[in-house]
């Protein structure tokens, strides 16, 4: 070894290969897309059944129906009550969870591999034979309503909800909170849920992903028998237009008298998951506000101490989601923080990124990719994305190369195309008396103050 040199960072050794786990693909009866990845590091398995039962296909007056149906699924089946179902799962050490998003409903199961044969039938029964007992529906609805009401008191949720209404035109599903509103959820009853399940909990367009210490042939045999006789597909979803609420900059303050901090959101409509710019946009967002050493975090946190952290994000959905910057800052520095956020966005549009910056962002995204595939649950989530968004089978295998191919010019180009500071919607949830004068003084436009 050479003598100890503390002055210079050690050079990295040769990069080691990483390949995304091999995924076997089979078709199940009824059109369910089965994907199995064998990972035998530990005797665990993760299963996700994805159904095309998402919030974005619902009418505004029924917003929250897919979420509420998902939340009530564990309330019991035609064969057993909710508590019997829960006991049966716990007896085999399995966890079942249901999560509902814009695109669909994912029913996930996690257990030891040796228990899969006992646990998988419980998942299938839950989805194929939901009973939606009256009292379970009432309980889930009360819970959802309490959650919606609590969101209105939590400044971070309040800001995100207000920002979504500012980013998207009325009528665009993404403009509303995922779980619906008090009015829409109050209107939901048992009949809506069972009708919804009957129409939308169907195999067509959905998928079953199994990752862990398992054999694809055995899984196929097990699933073919459990899903036998299940047929149909959810009604085809309309492809809705995503219009912005405004094409000029607006600035809204939601008053929280006496708040010690301001929640800030700055953004506008972004891009869809299928946009070919997605790789360059990923690098762009990483260096703007996706990593600790991003321009926004270095400015607001490390240079100015305004905040504990700031992040930017492009929400990648079937239809264009939001580009949004989020942070929480002290009341007295709110206007300065808004000014700096806009300046950083404008700076990238005008000047583009530096070569070193792009290299670092590329290496960060490509280098951390394997770290995000450690658990069977993480790998399953990646594979489910292929089904949800119709991505190529080798998408994850090629991901790192595509990121590494992004050049400075590509990033500058997508910055000009997908960042529009002049159309930024700015939302501040904080003490209006404390923040409004400073925000007015920025000269960005009229500050619209909304009472609490």
């Amino acid at each position: 070894m050479s003598p100890l040199d503390r002055q210079h960072p050690p050079e990295p050794g040769a990069l080691r290969d990483f390949s995304f786990p091999a995924v076997e693909r089979r078709d199940l009866p009824g059109g369910l897309d089965l994907r199995v990845a064998r990972l035998s590091r530990l005797p665990v398995v993760s299963v996700v059944l994805f159904l095309r039962a998402g919030e974005s296909t619902l009418e505004e007056t029924r917003a929250g129906l897919a979420c509420l149906a998902g939340d009530t699924l564990e309330g019991g089946t035609r064969r057993r009550s909710g508590s019997d179902l829960s006991e049966a799962l716990e007896r085999v050490g399995a966890r079942l969870s249901v999560s509902t998003g814009w695109e669909g409903t994912s029913v996930s199961l996690s257990c030891l591999a040796e228990r899969l044969e006992e646990a998988l039938p419980l998942l299938v029964e839950t989805v194929r034979e939901p009973a939606f007992p009256e009292e379970e529906v009432a309980r889930a609805r009360d819970h959802a309503l309490a959650g919606i009401r609590q969101r209105a008191m939590d400044p971070a949720s309040q800001a995100s909800d207000a920002a979504a209404r500012r980013y998207f035109a009325p009528g665009v599903p993404y403009a509303r909170p995922l779980g619906g509103t008090v009015a829409s959820v109050e209107s939901l009853g048992r009949g809506h849920l069972s009708g919804y399940a009957d129409a939308f909990y169907r195999p067509g367009g959905g998928g079953l992903v199994v990752v862990g210490d398992v054999d694809a042939d055995e899984i196929e045999a097990m699933a073919s028998s459990l899903f036998g006789g299940w047929a149909g597909a959810p009604p085809a979803a309309d492809i809705f237009d995503v219009e912005p609420a405004a094409r000029t900059r607006t600035l809204q303050v939601v008053d929280r008298p006496g708040a010690v901090q301001s929640e800030i959101r700055v953004g506008h409509v972004g891009i869809a998951r299928s946009d070919p710019d997605v790789f360059a946009v990923t690098v762009l967002n990483t260096l703007l506000g996706g990593a600790f050493t991003s321009r926004l975090n270095l400015n607001l946190r490390e240079r100015n101490g305004f905040t504990y952290g700031v992040r930017s994000r492009f929400s990648l959905r079937s239809r264009p989601g939001a580009f949004s910057v989020r942070t929480a800052v002290g009341t007295e520095v709110t206007a300065q923080a808004v000014r700096e956020i806009l300046a950083e966005i404008q700076g990238l549009v005008d000047g583009g990124p530096g070569q070193g910056e792009v290299e670092a962002a590329r290496d960060y995204v490509a280098g951390t990719f394997p770290l995000r595939q450690e658990t069977v649950g993480q790998v399953a989530a990646r594979v489910v994305e292929l089904i949800i968004y119709g991505l190529e089978d080798d998408y994850h295998d090629r991901y790192r190369d595509r990121i590494r191919a992004v050049e400075v010019e590509d990033v500058h180009e997508v910055a000009r195309r997908h960042l529009r500071p002049a159309e930024a919607q700015i939302v501040v949830v904080g003490d209006a008396d404390g923040v409004a004068p400073g925000l007015e003084a920025l000269g960005l436009g009229t500050v619209d103050v909304k009472a609490p």
Partner: protein, 440 residues
């Protein structure tokens, strides 16, 4: 150790100690081409003095701001540029730092950790302190002051432990104490607590044990050992009577917090209380869920948990009321269920369900090599809190040994026979009863 079916679940490791007292633990796992570096310093908010609360955590922030050979800002730039992620955290008991990097960048992570362990103060400035103080104040606003129910835990701790007890104050500290921290505090703290003899370094992943040994000796071997660390004084913590506290907050529904003194982490009783918590609140057929949420419909949600810590533990039951339900009604129902559990005992199937859940979670927790709770972090935790990383092979056994009788004994001994702190968090303008004064 094996799970049913005979599959081995353990973390094989080698351990050695450098001449300066630094403990090094190495675990090889070649599943992915990544390396996890994890450093624990045996210092947390328990080592602070009243008037300087929040300092251990503030110090953690300063550790990322550069050292003699790493200019300010470079720490994160080098790691992120190498395709790595890193973070740190502070609890009452310890401070940890970790880097997850592509395996070919292991040496970079070790160089960075060694530099801040050995040479932090050379480039320490008032500006760095002032800036991170502002960041931490914003962290406090975000996680406590501006967060519904955000001050509940620190309020309960304040009443559960007397003023001189190391768990009396919150890890994040108070605004006044954060303002009072000086550059001399930073220097003294580093010299006292950030020496190799008060630290342990765990490395896990696609690494070669012999190579790790050479690199660690190279970068850490010459750092000075440092003085012995002052012992923490732990006054006895018992409650002479039940305490009741009420705070108002920006919340929709009132929430009840009940807390008792529990058992130290990694003791047999700690496992008993973990299993008890599961019997009480995991799943729809758990006792408190069934009574309060499912059948009784008086609570929105309920959870019970054992918080085992290094010096002492605490056991918690937290329930959110349904609209219109009084928190007294929740407490009565909770106590009736606890009494019923002692009277009627726990059924074997309840115990079995809870232990099966623990087993699955345990195996899943071994999936990640790095980060919070990953294998490197676990090895350091076992080392510091039980004396040996090898405790991983005995950990699950504590749960498997728990009997139904242990569970009812624990309810009597830890909960019914002891006094509790009860905190009500209620919507603004709805305070019914005045708060008691703080403990002691």
């Amino acid at each position: 150790m094996t799970v049913e079916g005979g599959v081995d679940v353990t973390i094989p490791y080698t351990l050695f100690t450098l001449g300066n007292g630094l403990t090094v633990i190495v675990h090889r796992d070649t599943s992915l081409p990544v390396a996890a570096v994890n450093v624990w310093y045996h210092v947390g908010s328990k080592n602070e003095q009243p008037g300087r609360t929040g300092f251990a955590h503030l110090f953690e922030h300063i550790m990322f701001e550069g050292s003699a050979h790493v200019p300010e800002g470079e720490f994160d730039i080098l790691l992120e540029g190498a395709g790595g992620v890193n973070n740190g955290s502070t609890t009452n008991d310890r401070t940890n730092y970790w880097e997850n990097v592509p395996a070919n960048a292991l040496e970079l992570a070790l160089w960075l950790e060694a530099d801040r362990m050995g040479f932090l103060l050379e480039t320490m400035t008032q500006e760095k302190l002032d800036l991170q103080r502002e960041v931490v104040k914003n962290e406090r606003r975000e996680s406590v002051d501006n967060q519904p129910y955000g001050s509940a835990f620190e309020t309960v701790y304040e009443h559960l432990y007397p003023p001189r007890h190391p768990y009396h104050w919150p890890v994040i500290g108070s605004m006044d104490d954060l303002s009072a921290a000086t550059l001399d505090d930073v220097k003294g703290f580093f010299r006292t607590y950030y020496a190799p003899g008060n630290a342990a370094l765990a490395i896990a992943g696609d690494v070669d044990e012999a190579e790790v040994g050479r690199l660690v000796e190279r970068y850490f071997g010459s750092l000075p050992a440092g003085p012995p660390v002052p012992a923490v004084q732990v006054p006895e913590a018992t409650l002479a009577s039940d305490r009741r506290v009420v705070i108002e907050d920006d919340v929709q529904l009132p929430r009840l917090y009940m807390a008792w003194h529990g058992a130290r982490v990694y003791t047999d009783q700690d496992a008993v209380l973990d299993v008890l918590a599961s019997v009480l609140s995991d799943g729809k057929s758990s006792r408190l869920y069934k009574r309060l949420v499912y059948d009784g419909q008086i609570a929105q949600d309920v959870s019970a948990f054992q918080n085992g810590q290094e010096l002492v533990g605490s056991f918690w039951i937290v329930a959110t009321a349904k609209p219109g339900v009084d928190l007294d009604e929740l407490e009565v129902a909770v106590r009736q269920e606890l009494e019923r559990l002692v009277r009627e005992g726990v059924r074997p199937v309840e115990r079995e369900r809870a232990v099966n859940g623990v087993e699955t979670s345990f195996v899943r927790s071994l999936e990640r090599v790095g980060g919070f709770g990953g294998k490197a972090d676990r090895l350091n935790e076992y080392h510091f809190l039980t004396g040996s990383p090898g405790f991983v092979d005995r950990d699950l056994g504590r749960y498997r040994r728990v009997t139904e009788g242990d569970l009812s004994d624990a309810v009597r001994r830890f909960l019914l026979d002891r006094h509790a702190v009860r905190l009500d968090v209620v919507p603004r303008g709805r305070r019914g009863v005045r708060a008691d004064g703080p403990a002691g």
